[in-house]
Symmetry: C2
Subunit: 453 residues, 2 copies
Amino acid sequence: MNAIVQEQPTLADILREALDQGDAERLSDLMSAHAAQDIALALAELPRQHWHALFERLDHERSAEVYAHLPTEQQTLLLENLDHDEATRLIGELSYDDAAAVLEELEDEHAEAILGALPESDQQVLTSLLAYPEESAGRIMTPEFATVQPEWTVEEALDHLREHSEIAETVNTIFAVSPEGQLLGWVRLKELLLSRPRALVESTLHTDIVSVEAHEDQEEAARRISHYDLDVLPVVDERGVILGIITVDDVLDIIRDETTEDFHRMAAVADLPLSMREASMRLLYRKRIGWLVILVAVNILSGTAIAFFEASIEAVVALVFFLPMVIATGGNAGAQASTLMVRALATGDIQTRDWFKLGVKEVLVAAALGLAMAGSIWLAGNWLGNFEVANAIAIAMFLVVVFGSLFGMTLPFVLTRLRLDPATASAPLITSVVDVIGIIIYFAVATAILQLN
Amino acid sequence: MNAIVQEQPTLADILREALDQGDAERLSDLMSAHAAQDIALALAELPRQHWHALFERLDHERSAEVYAHLPTEQQTLLLENLDHDEATRLIGELSYDDAAAVLEELEDEHAEAILGALPESDQQVLTSLLAYPEESAGRIMTPEFATVQPEWTVEEALDHLREHSEIAETVNTIFAVSPEGQLLGWVRLKELLLSRPRALVESTLHTDIVSVEAHEDQEEAARRISHYDLDVLPVVDERGVILGIITVDDVLDIIRDETTEDFHRMAAVADLPLSMREASMRLLYRKRIGWLVILVAVNILSGTAIAFFEASIEAVVALVFFLPMVIATGGNAGAQASTLMVRALATGDIQTRDWFKLGVKEVLVAAALGLAMAGSIWLAGNWLGNFEVANAIAIAMFLVVVFGSLFGMTLPFVLTRLRLDPATASAPLITSVVDVIGIIIYFAVATAILQLN
């Protein structure tokens, strides 16, 4: 009895239908009834020939809104399929930070052609944004913001904002600057509104400034916005002159992407810049084969270790039966420990200087885990083997769990010290290394206790 | 040659010194020079007896600010150490959403005692917030917000906001409601400022409302804020009446916590509500032992499988040498595939209905990975064993990698269908299952090709 599940048609299905029927009125209704983010999401599911048709239906401003929310890969593809004038117009409609992000993905020649066709002032702004290093705060800031001066009255400040708020991406928080542009403080728009019109901006100014230098990493900008609960973070040069702002919604994207990178590293997948939906098979292959090859080299050592102790295996076959339990448990405990550390380091919950304190805690927790697991396997060993085998595998279990946990816990700190990403301490890497050392510990203990040599 | 690294004293160190010396002036300077978030962070590092001393130095408003940023565990501990009046005063100073979050962590009796001592109006608001289910949108919303009505003039609306903005957590986005409180639209404060004073609010109103129902999950609220790039999300009842708002900074915390939960699940650690720094050893033990025991039960099958094929091992010892490489590679490919899916499902990049399309892609990628790995091990097999052994282990490698990848890729979808968290498809779980099946495939292929029976 199979129930037929009738799924709701998605926005993509509805759009495709309207496009196939050439129903212009329905299309334009759909375009205005849905958020730009949702149209972009639906577009990403449609075959490529539909994109162009759909973009022609959208007015200029709306198409820029939808375009800004498309995944990077599709932004590039779509732009390559538009003619030069249409492409230039589209880029011109985008906000500066979005335009810079699109241009950096294009072939140099194509990007320069588009840049050259934009108005002089846009060219200057975009060129200066693109001059900052990739993934720096300067690269993702928007240079569209309004400032006030502390010696202005509240009334003057509000008039100034009324004139300039069209170009400012956000005016919820307003920055006060010196005539040279140096950042002096900030004030909330609602505080200005509440103040007497004749009061000076100075009197409501907050001077506890949190800012980021344009060359600092975008992750640092994200960390500050998140830590200080900011809605906007000013970006400054080395003299403290404000150059642009980064808003909290940019940061949500950065945090999501950085976290995805950590997840992938933790599973021994190299950086995968695209979404799973978009990633080509070739790319997926390339990002996965590297670690598989590196890890198989470690596994060769496991094979060698087992071959080395072959005599022990032949003498006591029960040893092979318990081997997977002991080394897998060590690897699992190690994967637990490394993940706990990697994530706590990433969120700032712990710092590298906490290593020793956490190490002591881990030894004790690992010892408790090791004892519990050793106890269970000792019972199984007595049941399926004999008293001496049980002792050997229980001692091995305890040692392997403690070693695995300490190794898993330590590796992220070592990687951080070496200025590598702690997330490289992936479960597969920990498991493979613990396998090798675990096999050696296991047979060394067994050989000693069972006097096999 | 050891260089002595002189570390910068942290804010915690400086605070501790000032407290030990009883330097009141220095303390009060430090309190005003640093952000509440940083003082809270430093406080968390100081021994418990210092907390009280430090809190006495802070004025009422400032101590509530610092308190709001302490980790949950320490909020509870500190409150338990304050006398009843001080505790009530502190809770009274907090914003409603923060106060509700603290009260729900306390013992019922203690929470009721504090609640009972608060002004009637605060009691009502807090009781209604606490009536929503845990982790629902209603529980984390703040009921402090200002609304306007569409038929008001811009001038009337601004006057109203001036009067009410002290109690409103954010007035960057203002919601327009009917006289019954039904949500009708939204307008940015800067748009009101730009409009002619005599114009009606209606004329600048946006009617594409994104809201969340109070009983929906807080994760859904986070997803909408993030997807639609909102700075504030209205929370409504089933009739569309606005009950409160959720701001983007609340969402940053939710996203961080949900992601941490996923990271821990992916490493076979049960939900760990506290930070690593705060988690007791007892708690860490409890959250880790469960999966270790479950997985060892799976590993018993691996041992059984190896024991079953013991005759093959004794006949061709080279088979044991290559076994770890083959099954570990299968497990690693599986861990890669499951993590890619779990993360893409969590970010909304893919949906469960994409399973088939992604499955076809995964089979092809896995086949390519399997061929590459089989090729390398075939060469090694010829070198270290013989032509027939090489064929057997190469075929086994190919099959195990394809099986591992498909299993790793499918499990997160199956778990989602069963309404379980896809992140339960952890690397240790995938590895353990692929070990068992991998061993069976390996020896089955070897037995057939090498005609061992």
